[in-house]
Symmetry: C2
Subunit: 378 residues, 2 copies
């Protein structure tokens, strides 16, 4: 996948914090501080990770080829790769294809829905559907557009930019303000999802702003309230799509924590629930086994006061004051079981220890995850 | 399961650190500091966890019934429960059965192999086999015996005493020395295993010393070298049995880390590998996808120097100096694939960052885990 940005476009990014980050991530770490980019090249199937100096040369060759085709400097080309770790990247296949791609590529400012769909499809691996989201916002009276694409769908864990997501806007926004907008949006979206608690070596989220909308370039935060709201919406939409298409997932699970000591504590507790294999398999089986939520909160290490805790599934209170709810009988359990039979499940817990809140998304853990991952590479 | 200890027996224990610990764990926390015990009552099927004041009364009723049957104080009775969380314990079933059990119970000092096997069987839930281990040691010239039983097999995570394990010895050892021996043994055994990264609300490891062997009671550490070695062996044997019988497990996986900044760092890195669903599913599928080990080490947050790293599977070097090993070709991959087809898999990684070492055990993640846990309670 090749995306071309008009001259003068600004770029911001959030990259994996993995200590074994892939070669394209190391490249992006060098390019992003400049805040300028003219092209993005993405391949799927090979992550070019743990490939040493050979891998770094492959990224440079990709950037040189794209720069020649687009007419820019190699340092204005971003690269992202996703797929198998540790295999040498057959980079000649990429460099040979770039010139042909460059002839046909519409600048992102003129790309249509079909183009974004094709781009989203090109970057998939085990994804079962192409992921896109769109929104508009007003900046000082000018309408701007935001279009994003993303891929999942395993090796997805929070606390880093998760997997690949690329968001394009025709707004004119200077690099520092763009970075601030992206950081905030990622914290609310990609940092709040988990499929399997495993973190990719290739995680990359980029936001490119071409300026084609014609608003006066924004450098401060004052005029960006509506843009931030729209960007958060696009990123959250994409993040939830990634979870909904988690490997083998049949259900989308929303975990809501309140009453934690702090928002950060709430997020850690929510992730302990969202990453628990026993919670995720119970939901896969449609089993109202809320004791596993208790277990996951207990192991999280976060402050809680058992006798003040409350747990709800699909809005039904299953436990309160440190034990099964007094009126949680056969009828209430049947309501919970009906909720769990659906495609969207909500687990809520109040920890009784403060006012911290968080919500994260995950998916159930099914035979499909095992099937996909026990035989992915071979 | 009821175990009776001779008058004068000493006890040590390690309990879950879960913030939602079960009622029997709360009870044991009060009894253990005294260092004395006469009886142990264990039930399987209901964990008596998150059951509030009703649950605490159920434990007290169990202790009172056992104390009456054995002829001791309730404060000399230890209780452990394992099973579903959040359901009220039908304690009358237990108190009604205790008198009959007490008539038949052999003191642990006179129990035979068949008795330990029956006890190990009584405490199983999803375990597929009863777990026991035995060893002898010399204390100041007197031979003493150590017999242990344990149960798994899901909700097994390290960093706490894991699941239920009960070790009995006829040695005479004072409480403080007994605690020191048990702490050290648990650190090397139960704290080094993981099945699913989920931590039970009921984890309990107890070590009872009856003194029937007739050695002069030991209060210091000097005479206990051989006993410690034998105890470590019994605990490690039991811990590995728990992992080998992990829910749905087909393979036992040993993860060895060297070259970490410290032993503690090595252990965290090893657990990141051992808890990675992607590593565990690759091994389930017999897939030599060593890139997932790279991913897990990268996400662990532990110090590593990629260009000095080395990864081996079954003794075959698959990666070194930050990339695929130069001589890792079709023949070497075939050797790794043969190793992965076996029942025991060894993954080794050198992090190139120091001299820290650790080894942990886990199991593969299979369809069996999903099958067992998507429909456990109902």
């Amino acid at each position: 996948m090749l995306a071309a940005f008009a001259a003068g476009s600004c770029i911001a990014g959030v990259l994996t914090r993995s200590a074994t980050a892939a070669a394209p991530v190391l490249w992006c770490r060098k390019v992003l501080p400049g805040g300028r980019a003219r092209a993005l090249v993405v391949n799927a199937g090979n992550a070019n990770a743990f490939t040493g100096a050979v891998g770094e040369r492959a990224v440079a060759a990709t950037a040189v080829a794209a720069a020649a085709a687009i007419g820019c400097a190699p340092g204005e080309v971003l690269v992202a790769s996703t797929g198998v770790i540790g295999e040498p990247l057959p980079v000649d296949n990429i460099t040979a294809a770039i010139a042909g791609l460059a002839i046909n590529v519409p600048g992102v400012a003129t790309a249509r829905a079909a183009d974004f769909h094709a781009a989203a499809t090109a970057i998939t691996t085990t994804d079962t559907f192409a992921k896109g989201a769109t929104a508009t916002a007003a900046i000082a009276g000018t309408q701007v557009n935001i279009n994003g694409i993303a891929k999942g769908s395993g090796m997805v864990a929070p606390d880093m930019a998760t997997m690949l997501a690329f968001v394009f806007t025709d707004a004119a926004i200077a690099p520092a303000a763009l970075r601030s907008c992206l950081r905030a949006a990622v914290d609310e979206s990609f940092h709040c999802i988990t499929v399997d608690g495993d973190t990719s070596t290739s995680d990359t989220v980029l936001l490119a702003a071409t300026g084609a909308a014609g608003n006066r370039k924004v450098a401060g935060a004052a005029a960006l309230g509506d843009f931030r709201r729209a960007l958060n919406k696009v990123c959250t939409d994409l993040a939830v799509q990634v979870v909904r298409d988690g490997e083998g997932a049949a259900k989308l699970i929303r975990v809501e924590i309140s009453g934690a000591r702090s928002d950060a504590s709430a997020r850690r507790a929510a992730l302990a629930v969202a990453n628990s294999p026993l919670v995720k398999t119970a939901i896969a089986g449609g089993d109202a086994n809320w004791g596993r939520v208790v277990m996951a909160l207990g192991k999280s290490g976060e402050a809680l006061v058992a006798r003040r805790m409350r747990i709800q599934i699909g809005g039904v209170t299953v436990a309160e004051r440190g034990a099964r709810a007094a009126n949680y009988g056969k009828r209430a359990e049947a309501a919970v079981t009906r909720h769990l039979a659906g495609r969207e499940v909500t687990l809520s817990a109040h920890l009784g220890a403060g006012r911290g809140r968080a919500r994260v998304w995950t998916c159930d853990l099914t035979h499909g995850y095992i099937r996909i991952n026990a035989d992915y590479r071979t």
